[in-house]
Symmetry: C2
């Protein structure tokens, strides 16, 4: 039986493997835990049973063939999960991260499509529907109907309130009539809608017969006949065409032309319409209803955070293994050439990204567990509304920032890895191009990063008046407890005078707490001042003040807040390490992630007079280099801990045997026609003649 902790084949990576200061299997066990490793092994072995999941091709297939293959894989992946979860006990956090680290890396398109087809559709129904909708969930999970999730319209994405698809209740027919006034109101970017979905969870403006709009509500909308896949009359549904990446997913658009659906298809947990057309809801405030309708999206963002980190892990696996094998230049003419991993510049390009993964690994586990607890809270009989609301808001603040940051980190890591593998990294066979194309959209979907991250600062800004009034700040997840010490923190100064002092976890966390307090105070004051001196109308002052205090203020605040939380989670984890060697290497990774983040904040340290004189800037920069150098010999073992299995790495530069040139040669030679004359060689003669005749 295959095992994710099995030994690696001997080869060019041995040298670095022997240099490692710790046992990689022990680190894996400490970091991941037994339950995760078991579950991942089960998942891995189950995947190996499906030949369709093991197919690999060097050549880009046609869009149609890619779609067909992806759809087939969707069903295989569904069977894989069903089978593993049926026989394996595993907590949500481990299960979820294992899926990200295997299924998402194996085939991002198929994993995304599986997710929307089976889980996103049913999860919306589960959270917003009632007993009368249970059959949709059952039929979807047993494969009879294929779901999708539709919110975004051509003309509206981030501004969900601006959605223009209407669902008008018609008492005569006791049906809702869905309608798209024009192309800009077409639902779009709906995964799986382009070619295969039979039913959608579609959001539309609910309108009662009296013409009153009640805001966005979700409806189960039949789209295609589930036997024939022929669309129903009244819907114009199609595929959005090729994208930059994730082309296996058929993102679709749909327009409704006075399209009738049963009244019962309204997911009626937050609001309902009676048979005669009256709107009834527990929540009477439309804003809170809007929040409730879309409040379910934290889950997706938490998952995207994990997926991004797994994308990142694949990129650094490829680039660091390649850096250990690739040699270039020698110190003197007689010396051997040197692996490029030995160069400072190369270490600095790659190792901070490796540290990022380790920092996020612990954080993801923490966050997935918190999300799991929240789900338990929601399912409890006795509902503590206050606690649920506040936990939901804090999770929303956390997930909005970490989803954005993870997206940017993964994006930058993949790009740097691509460039760090230089020419050979530009080959399709390096795997880095597709990784980038598939990852890229993580910065956009489930909330455009720059817009989404404002949710975090908004939440923090609402806490600041408490601090100003000297009131206690207390949040369910306790992520900003330190705000209660804000006055003292704000008068503190940057004190480290040495590498050791700077990288001491306590000092690191102190610095980030100062950053959060400073940026929160600054953003709040900027906002208030802009509002006060605004030339905009009274009604719009707050709107513009908020927007004009984003760059260098609120955005930096959100980033510092989430970095502090990530560092806290990692620091907690490290304190539990019994093995000194493991503790040591994790402390280095913690410090490298921290100082790399801190480097970007240097302007704030000075702008806020936390630092003065040259020490802080110099110390931070030099510490980064020192840490890179001291992690370098452990880099391959650290990669071995986080690397996916070889057939998932699927890169000639990144296999665990390190036989870069052999894989490269094999890939080049097995390409069809690699050594042949092109079939159109005769045409060249004509083209050449044109040039000759013009001379």
């Amino acid at each position: 039986m295959a095992n994710c902790l099995s030994d690696f084949p001997p080869g060019p990576l041995d040298k670095y493997r022997k240099l490692a200061s710790f046992d990689w299997k022990q680190l894996s066990l400490f970091l991941n835990g037994e339950e995760f490793l078991n579950y991942r092994n089960e998942l891995y072995n189950e995947i190996l049973k499906y030949s369709v999941l093991l197919e690999q091709t060097d050549q880009t297939p046609t869009l149609d063939e890619l779609r067909r293959k992806t759809t087939q894989k969707v069903f295989a992946l569904k069977l894989v999960r069903d089978s593993v979860t049926a026989r394996t006990n595993c907590n949500y956090a481990d299960m979820s991260f294992a899926e990200s680290s295997l299924a998402y890396l194996l085939d991002p398109s198929a994993s995304v499509k599986r997710s929307v087809t089976f889980y996103m559709f049913t999860s919306v129904i589960a959270s917003m529907g009632t007993e009368r909708h249970r059959h949709f969930i059952e039929n979807c999970l047993n494969g009879e109907i294929l779901g999708c999730f539709g919110l975004t319209e051509i003309g509206h994405g981030s501004n969900t309130r601006g959605m223009r698809t209407t669902a008008t209740y018609d008492p005569a027919s006791r049906q809702f009539i869905l309608h798209s006034p024009d192309f800009q109101a077409a639902k779009c970017w709906v995964g799986s809608l382009g070619q295969t979905a039979t039913h959608g969870a579609i959001f539309a403006q609910l309108v009662t017969p009296d013409g009153i709009k009640h805001g966005l509500h979700a409806f189960v909308v039949p789209i295609r006949d589930s036997k024939t896949l022929v669309p129903y009359p009244g819907v114009k549904v199609g595929d959005m065409g090729e994208k930059i990446g994730l082309n296996g997913v058929d993102n679709g658009f749909i327009m409704f032309d006075q399209y009738h659906i049963p009244r019962e298809n309204l997911l009626n947990k937050i609001g309902d319409v009676t048979e005669d057309g009256r709107y009834v809801a527990d929540i009477t405030d439309p804003n809170r209803r809007h929040g409730a309708a879309l409040g379910n999206l934290s889950d997706g963002r938490i998952n995207i955070t994990s997926v991004n980190m797994c994308y990142l892990s694949k990129a650094v696996t490829i680039a660091i293994r390649y850096a250990a094998v690739r040699k270039q230049f020698s110190a003197t003419e007689d010396d051997e050439e040197i692996p490029i991993l030995e160069y400072q510049s190369h270490q600095h390009r790659l190792l901070p990204h490796l540290a990022t993964f380790y920092a996020f690994r612990t954080f993801c586990k923490y966050l997935l567990e918190e999300r799991d607890k929240f789900q338990l809270l929601l399912n409890k009989k006795s509902i503590d509304v206050h606690r649920i609301t506040n936990t939901g808001l804090e999770l929303h603040a956390i997930s909005s920032a970490c989803k954005s940051l993870a997206g940017w980190y993964a994006r930058d890591a993949i790009q740097e890895c691509r460039e760090a593998c230089a020419g050979h990294g530009y080959l399709k066979a390096s795997g880095l191009g597709e990784l980038r194309s598939n990852q890229d959209v993580c910065c956009t979907y489930e909330g455009e990063n720059h817009v989404l991250i404002q949710q975090t600062s908004n939440w923090l800004l609402r806490l600041w008046p408490l601090v100003l009034k000297g009131k206690s700040v207390s949040t369910p997840l306790n992520t900003v407890e330190f705000l209660n010490r804000a006055p003292q923190i704000l008068t503190s100064k940057f004190t480290p005078n040495s590498f050791e002092e700077l990288t001491e976890p306590k000092n690191i966390l102190d610095t980030f707490q100062w950053l959060v307090c400073y940026l929160l105070k600054l953003s709040f004051e900027k906002y208030e001042s802009l509002k006060q001196h605004s030339l905009h109308s009274v009604e719009s002052k707050a709107f513009w003040a908020k927007n004009d205090s984003q760059v260098f203020y609120a955005k930096s605040l959100s980033i510092a807040y989430i970095q502090h939380l990530i560092l806290t989670a990692m620091s907690d984890k490290i304190s539990k390490a019994a093995d000194f060697k493991i503790k040591t290497v994790l402390e280095k990774l913690f410090a490298l992630f921290a100082v790399t983040c801190l480097e970007k904040h240097i302007p704030f340290l000075y702008a806020g007079s936390y630092a003065s004189g040259p020490t802080a800037a110099v110390l931070i920069q030099d510490s980064i280099l020192r840490l890179c150098k001291s992690i370098k010999n452990d880099a391959i073992a650290l990669v071995d801990v986080i690397a996916p299995p070889d057939f998932i790495v699927n890169s000639v530069l990144g296999y665990s045997d390190g036989q870069v040139y052999k894989h490269l040669e094999a890939a080049m030679l097995r390409a069809p026609g690699a050594l042949s004359r092109p079939s159109w060689w005769k045409e060249i003669t004509n083209w050449k003649k044109n040039i000759h005749s013009k001379l």
Copy 2:
């Protein structure tokens, strides 16, 4: 006759066009000059004559079809250039930038392939060959033979001295015998070699019969029969397969198996072998010979700088026009929605990249002109060796930094534009994905950026001892004249106290001169100190000291040096603006580019005690936002100045009519099968059954 300065169709962009503070045609004339505009118009009109160059498809073709089409375009583009240059007088600088702004944007693959097939091959022969090689140039330019250029090997790229292909002279046959000892010594990444080249300018270690190696020399190597395209026996030549981008180019590899070529095919300007096998050369120092053999590469880097900026211009055209049309959110419920260009966050994402183009536009013209002058110097009868050498070295230092920086800037701009167009930017029809995939390799080829940029700091570091000794620093292009004032500059301080003071050109240039002096001094001292305290062997101390002083030191030095030069060129240009409105908007762009660069250098301002107290950091950040805001209303007109013609923009989001949604709808609906059931719909039933049967 089409004209690049014709008016734009009315539409959603009118609002911003009317807001512009200046006349865009006048700015275009001032920036580009009449000669450039005329030449570009001629080129544009000539392109329009070739239907193959006007073909556009929404769908990704197969690799084979793409290759065929690209090759056809190569010949068409060759005819276009021949025809235009035959009838139009134009200086090299304008001609070259016009090519970048039209041909490279129209089809990067075909342009790259044209370049290597016809011009790179012949230019190597022209500069390194002698009279006996003239026929190769003629036969290539008239299309009888198709060239390529081979230097890189599988195992060696940046380290050109490590190349292992040998060319051993055999006096018996009076031939050179080319040989590749193994796959790692295969020449690779040779553009056009994969499928079509008939002859290559190939670099190999020249070995005389006495076994002595004389270093890299270039040879004209016949590869395929020019009539049949069948490879000659003794070469194993093939295609490297799919890449991340530029897939129209057939990058190839070649291995030689004791392959004989005539003695005369050695390009013998720097060294020759007599019939009986003696090596003769004017330059006796092998290091200088190595330099002479590869000294010709500045040209390519200067061109890549321009091409990168044209890629950038296309990206900002698309994203800024989209930002002016795309509306999202309103300040109050009753207000209209607001174009996203109005948001601070969005301005900050896009406008600095727009400023980058303007800064580089003037610099590219300056650099292309200097390169042209250098060519004249080389062709002069009376050769001033000292001047040629020093000019060559300075051009090498400049081009090594600007090629790298332009690559990074274009990469970041394209990525930010992709994300700033959010979901719709992820469509293939946005054009941003292909732009990114094609641009990406600019960071790698013709010198991996991180390795290449060391050439610049190396050149600067050699000047510092002169400063230390109080000697005068004088270089042919006068780019570091200010080093003569280094002692005073190093004692100066950051003095601006207001936006006006900070953005005053003189103060900007002063700050960058301080940065260059400081980083040069720092890098020199770091290098010396590392060398002194090194634990490495005596022979390798210098090597490791150099490598360990790159990050935060030498690399930052190269960047600051080239930024100063770019700013100087722009500042000179602005001083010539007679029109006050044009002067004003260019000053803003100058300042925005400058402060955006400066922001990244803030740590150095403090580390070097140039700045102290919070002012510098706060002022630089706030100035960026202030400049973005003040440029915003001019953004569309500024884009109109630099935008390629619509059929070259070729993006549903970026056409000059601003009809984003109409183009989007049309593109989605015209895709084959967009509204149809997939051909494999019946298979889904089987896949569904598998799930059902497992339940």
